[in-house]
């Protein structure tokens, strides 16, 4: 304990280093959060957005949401989309991480290149998947046709269910590298001796996976899933570019619906209310994440 204390300076001068960044975030993020809460209980439209008196309507905007079927659809969509994306990107990411943990010559370089989808601007990814899922020239329809699985081209992006499927595919594609690399890193922290002694004891691969790999990876898996949830749940660009919430509002997510209300229909208050619902759910999950990551943090 004594040794630990000595590593730091108990000195309030430290705050001076942190203050500029903190103030910046307070002005450009902290204040907007509060402002957004206020806007959501007022009646703000294009006329009084910047100047003019805004009347308080309190929970009127939120009440309106309850009867709004697009809001309900968006909420259900966001949850369904997030959970399905998480399952697939985690499964594929995990499998790839295990595969690349084998020490063959291409393991490192190929795994490195596979990170590319995570780096590409989401707008571009959305465009690429729009091309793959295009009705007439889409390569996916061509492949399915050649395999004899379909006879007529599927209109992926203009049919509600398949549009959602296309969105999930695109998001899983982005998420796989993230899952893969975090799990890869987690795998390297498992001491090799454990595997050796397990194999001496006659454990087979399935047993070592469930008895050693999974339990020791638990902290990594937790943070991968929670972070994955947060990143996926707040999805905006991908959906906005690929479907813009269509066809007929069927693929709206909370974020895209909020944007539509605010910046296309100029119902700023209702848009803010939707954003706050999104925020509330994210924060609930975020608390889990903070609890998980600050567990080992020194006082």
């Amino acid at each position: 304990m004594e040794k630990l204390k000595k590593r730091f300076r108990y000195d309030n001068a430290g705050i001076l280093f942190v203050l500029p960044a903190f103030l910046y975030m307070l002005v450009f993020v902290g204040y907007p959060i509060v402002r957004n809460l206020i806007v959501s209980v007022q009646d703000v439209n294009a006329g009084n957005l910047v100047r003019g008196t805004k009347h308080f309507v309190w929970f009127e905007n939120y009440r309106e949401l309850l009867g709004d079927s697009v809001f309900t659809t968006s909420l259900v969509n966001t949850l369904r989309y997030t959970l399905l994306c998480l399952v697939f990107q985690f499964a594929v990411g995990f499998a790839l991480a295990l595969f690349f943990s084998k020490r063959f010559s291409f393991a490192r370089p190929v795994r490195g290149i596979l990170l590319a989808p995570w780096m590409i601007p989401v707008t571009v990814t959305a465009l690429m998947f729009k091309l793959l899922f295009a009705t007439d020239i889409g390569v996916l329809n061509y492949i399915l046709r050649s395999l004899g699985l379909i006879e007529k081209n599927i209109e992926w992006l203009t049919t509600p269910e398949t549009a959602m499927f296309a969105l999930i595919c695109a998001n899983v594609w982005i998420g796989i590298p993230f899952n893969m690399i975090l799990i890869s890193t987690g795998l390297t922290t498992i001491p090799k001796e454990l595997y050796e002694s397990a194999s001496i004891d006659g454990a087979n691969r399935v047993q070592t996976f469930f008895k050693i790999t999974l339990p020791l990876l638990r902290p990594t898996i937790e943070s991968v899933l929670i972070l994955g949830f947060i990143y996926t749940f707040k999805v905006y660009d991908l959906v906005y570019v690929m479907t813009s919430g269509g066809p007929v509002n069927s693929t709206h997510m909370l974020s895209t619906y909020s944007y539509k209300l605010s910046f296309e229909m100029f119902k700023y208050s209702k848009g803010s209310a939707v954003a706050n619902v999104l925020l509330l759910i994210l924060m609930a999950v975020g608390i889990l994440y903070i609890k998980a990551t600050t567990k080992g943090e020194e006082e």
């Binding site: 300076r9 430290g14 402002r35 994210l282 994440y289």
Partner: protein, 282 residues
């Protein structure tokens, strides 16, 4: 790691082949966009589709340079300026902040650290309307500055959380040696600690740049004029206008990827550490 024996011989060959196959499948969307940008419009609509351009067509790139309305280079430059600005703000603010958090214990430290952690989880939707009002009042609406200021809010918390670990790992002795040599707190920080944490600073700069480069929501909402908008908003507009002109669209996409690809190729090691250290430990 290195004592562990490498796989060799036939098994190695098979695993390498499988990994290349995986690579081809997973990166197919990228390949497809690239070759589509090099095809003629007729070839794109050919059935069955061609898996490499039979007639090489660079017109899609040339045409976008020539037309004034959607000048690719213009929006490329806008994006570049905005992203550089955002990365600069993020690094300048995050480097001292992360040092303060890593090396000092002061009142409010935990609250500050937590609030940086929380901002990483915020959805853009919450910030858009208030920022919109704020930027209008600050008279920076419809300028690069608005997007720059907004984009930096993504880079700052990310950078702080990464750099904090870098600074924390620097032994106290190094700093103390600097004090003995007569350095003040600030000089020690600039002369001794920053150079050691340089790889971390690089990671932060790169990721802050990339976050800003990939942003669509801020650039599209706070900048109205097409000629000032970033390249992502340019693509989005282009999609609306030219719907199915896929040769043009994919060419636009390829140009947008170029800086990302360059960073990816030349700074590979920073990318892995950026993706992992930002997430695992807060």
């Amino acid at each position: 790691m290195d004592e562990e024996k490498k796989i060799s011989g036939k098994k190695n060959m098979i695993l390498c082949a499988v990994s290349v196959l995986l690579l081809c499948v997973l990166l197919f969307p990228l390949y497809w966009a690239l070759i589509t940008s090099l095809k003629t419009e007729q070839e794109i609509f050919r059935n069955p589709p061609t898996f490499y351009p039979h007639v090489l067509n660079t017109q899609s790139y040339a045409a976008q340079v020539e037309t004034g309305d959607f000048n690719m280079f213009r929006s490329f430059a806008n994006s570049f300026l905005i992203s550089m600005g955002a990365a600069l703000i993020a690094v300048i603010l995050a480097v001292p902040a992360s040092y303060g958090i890593a090396k000092y214990r002061f009142k409010g430290r935990k609250v500050m650290l937590l609030s940086f952690l929380v901002t990483q989880m915020l959805p853009v939707s919450v910030l858009l309307t208030p920022m919109f009002i704020m930027f209008k009042n600050m008279h920076v609406y419809n300028t690069w500055i608005s997007a720059m200021l907004a984009d930096a809010t993504i880079g700052i918390p990310f950078s702080i959380l990464i750099l904090k670990n870098y600074f924390a790992s620097i032994p106290k002795d190094l700093e103390e040696a600097a004090y003995l040599d007569g350095c003040g707190r600030f000089t020690a920080f600039v002369r001794v600690l920053i150079p050691i944490a340089r790889p971390g600073v690089m990671v932060c700069a790169i990721f802050s740049f990339l976050y800003a480069w990939g942003d669509l929501a801020y650039g599209m909402t706070f900048i109205l004029d097409q000629e000032k908008r970033p390249i992502t908003a340019g693509i989005f507009n282009f999609m609306g206008q030219y719907g199915t002109k896929w040769s043009y669209l994919t060419a636009f996409a390829v140009v947008t990827i170029i800086p990302v690809a360059l960073i990816f190729i030349f700074m590979q090691k920073y990318i892995v550490s950026g993706m992992t250290s930002g997430a695992v430990k807060g």
